[in-house]
């Protein structure tokens, strides 16, 4: 039977080729899903996030770890049946704001958030105001996250917020914002609850706000 440590190490090292067999082997041998998720997969992603934050791992390492995590979750998810809460700490709707086509930062945030057990709905790039509103109605997320690289397109964020307010959905979600030109001051200016200066910190901020 593959040990939890082997599964943990496979995710942490981005071994997406072997992780499937390891997870399946553990399940077949009677390991609980809760144990696999909490004590192997999530802990591995947490470790990867910390090592990325401290400069011991780099972005390709993190993305490969996320890929391994995804392969593992594809095996686990269909077996959860009603106990999805084990794997999901909350739902995040995320997109790059209208007019902006940059998605590297957004994708990193998704990687880290999924690694931490969030269900993430990725709306993609150049996302229209209404698409965010529709996604909130459909997925009932805890967090709506805006990403933007261009100072000029950050101008659209107040419009995004207004659209959410006009739809009467503002109180049901926490808002998050990130991107190179974004600052805590910018977030405060528009009453955005979550800001992280980097992708690795974003998922931690999500957890912090939801645990409050």
């Amino acid at each position: 039977m593959p040990s939890l440590k082997e599964i943990h190490d496979a995710v942490a090292s981005g071994n997406y080729k072997d992780i499937g067999n390891l997870v399946q082997g553990a399940i077949d041998s009677g390991e609980t899903l809760e144990n696999i998720i909490n004590n192997a997969l999530s802990s591995a992603m947490l470790e990867v996030g910390d090592k990325f934050g401290s400069g011991d791992l780099y972005m390709p390492d993190m993305l490969l770890a996320a890929k391994a995590m995804k392969v593992a979750m594809e095996i686990i998810k269909p077996l959860l049946k009603g106990s999805e809460h084990l794997s999901e700490k909350g739902t995040v709707v995320i997109g790059t704001v209208k007019g902006d086509l940059h998605d590297i930062g957004k994708n990193l945030v998704i990687t880290m958030a999924e690694g931490q057990g969030f269900k993430v709905i990725d709306l993609g790039i150049d996302v229209d105001f209404q698409v965010f509103v529709d996604a909130i109605k459909e997925h009932n997320p805890n967090i709506v996250a805006f990403s933007g690289l261009l100072t000029t397109t950050l101008a659209n964020i107040p419009e995004h917020i207004r659209a959410i307010e006009d739809a009467g959905l503002r109180k049901s979600v926490k808002l998050a914002v990130g991107g190179a030109p974004v600052t805590q001051h910018f977030a405060d200016m528009y009453g955005i609850e979550i800001y992280s200066p980097d992708a690795s910190g974003a998922a931690k901020e999500f957890l912090k706000v939801l645990n409050k």
Binding site: G55, Y58, M59, P60, G99, L101, H102, I104, G105, L108, D126, L150, T151, T152, T153, L154, A155, N156, E159, A180, P181, D198, A199
Partner: protein, 483 residues
Amino acid sequence: MRKGFTRKIAPVKVLSDTQIEYIHNSSLEVLEKTGVKLESERALKILKENGCIIDFESKIAKFPGWLVEESVRRAPSSFSVKARIPEDDLRISMSNLYFMPAAGAKLHDEKTGSLSVATLKENDQGVKICDGLDAADFQASYCPYFELKDIEPVMLLAESQASIARNSTRVSRGAQATDSFIWEAQIANAAGKQLIGTMEGAAPLCFPEDAVNAAFEYMDNGFPIWATGGSIMGGSSPVTIAGATVTNNAEILAAITFIQCYRPGNAVLANDFVVPMDMESGNLFFGAIGAGFHQMAFNQIYRELYRIPTCNAMAAFPNSKLIDYQNAFEKTHLALSAALSGASMIAFIGSVSQELAWSPLQAVIDNDAVNIIGRYIEGFEINDLTIASDLIAEVGPSPGSFLGKKHTRENWRRESYIPKTFDRLSYQDWARSGKPSVIDKARNSVEEIIKKHRPQPLSETQENQIQGILKEARKYYEKKGLL
């Protein structure tokens, strides 16, 4: 016409002929097999009529090699761009080199490195300072600041182009975001000048709708196009210099093919802005050697194979947050390698702190730097007069001296550029005069430009026209719900 710097030395090569062919063939393979996405049905229809295979659903165009090569042949190897005054017209070619300012989001404080949002008045002053620099031949778009305190973000590009028209007689670049090109082209026409209009991709292998619409508008106005891919090595292109060269080349060749299909002979300035990703942070790794090699290879391919002039924008931004040694080194090695390998335009002047800031002080220091970098491509004269054999014989061995000779007096200035901001004092004089730094000297230069430089103002009619255009732009964005 602005002279810029005249290329008299052979460009430095980093590729062999077979390597150039290898990259070209690989680029054609990408264009033929993978294709490039153009988010414009109008553009896709034009490409289809010209022989491309189009999937209208995915918006991907696949380009036959013969069409790409034919399009490259149609693009001129040199072209003129009209400025507000004839003295500032540009002749962009492979035998000369111009420099331009970079743009930064905010105003930089040289003492603390802190950033603050500039006002429109400070932007006007920044434009005027660039106009007062002898080596800033061209103004960027959203220049120098691209965040202004008293301007709504959606009006920024139009207001910025108006600020350039009012405070500078030089040619400028037109931007592409949120339909700004409509107003920017109108402002340029009102000011009696041309723009070089941007068509900027969203790598990998994609041109968004704004980029294509901007290209249509600028071409309809008879303006040259600044074709650029703008990928991040390891993010939106392969991490290897060769791989990133191929995808970036495929992107720019796709743009050139579209441009030449729509308006045969339309001038193109092929811009190289491909920056490695910093794998520790996901930030752009400005000042990287990979960026240097990338633009050197790019310049050689476009010069030797395509005969299309190039701009290099990698020297435009330093990672350094200060006016310091790192800033100078990151920018200078990239600008120098760009100049030596054949660029026709280099973005350089005034940038601090990645793309986040611009500094008037840095701008005047950079003006000195580019005057030296540019001189490298002019080489030095070798003839009887400069060798001065007779004089060498006349002065003879020590204690003979050349200092008091007419030849020295007549030639010393033109043999070296004399920087205005760099400290050249003896230690004693430096200590006596209060130990001025390069920043102190730059401050004096900035003050002098602000006090003395008076660019030719717009006529009352031109100013009224521009105000009318800005009013129309506001109405347009109000109607779209963006104001």
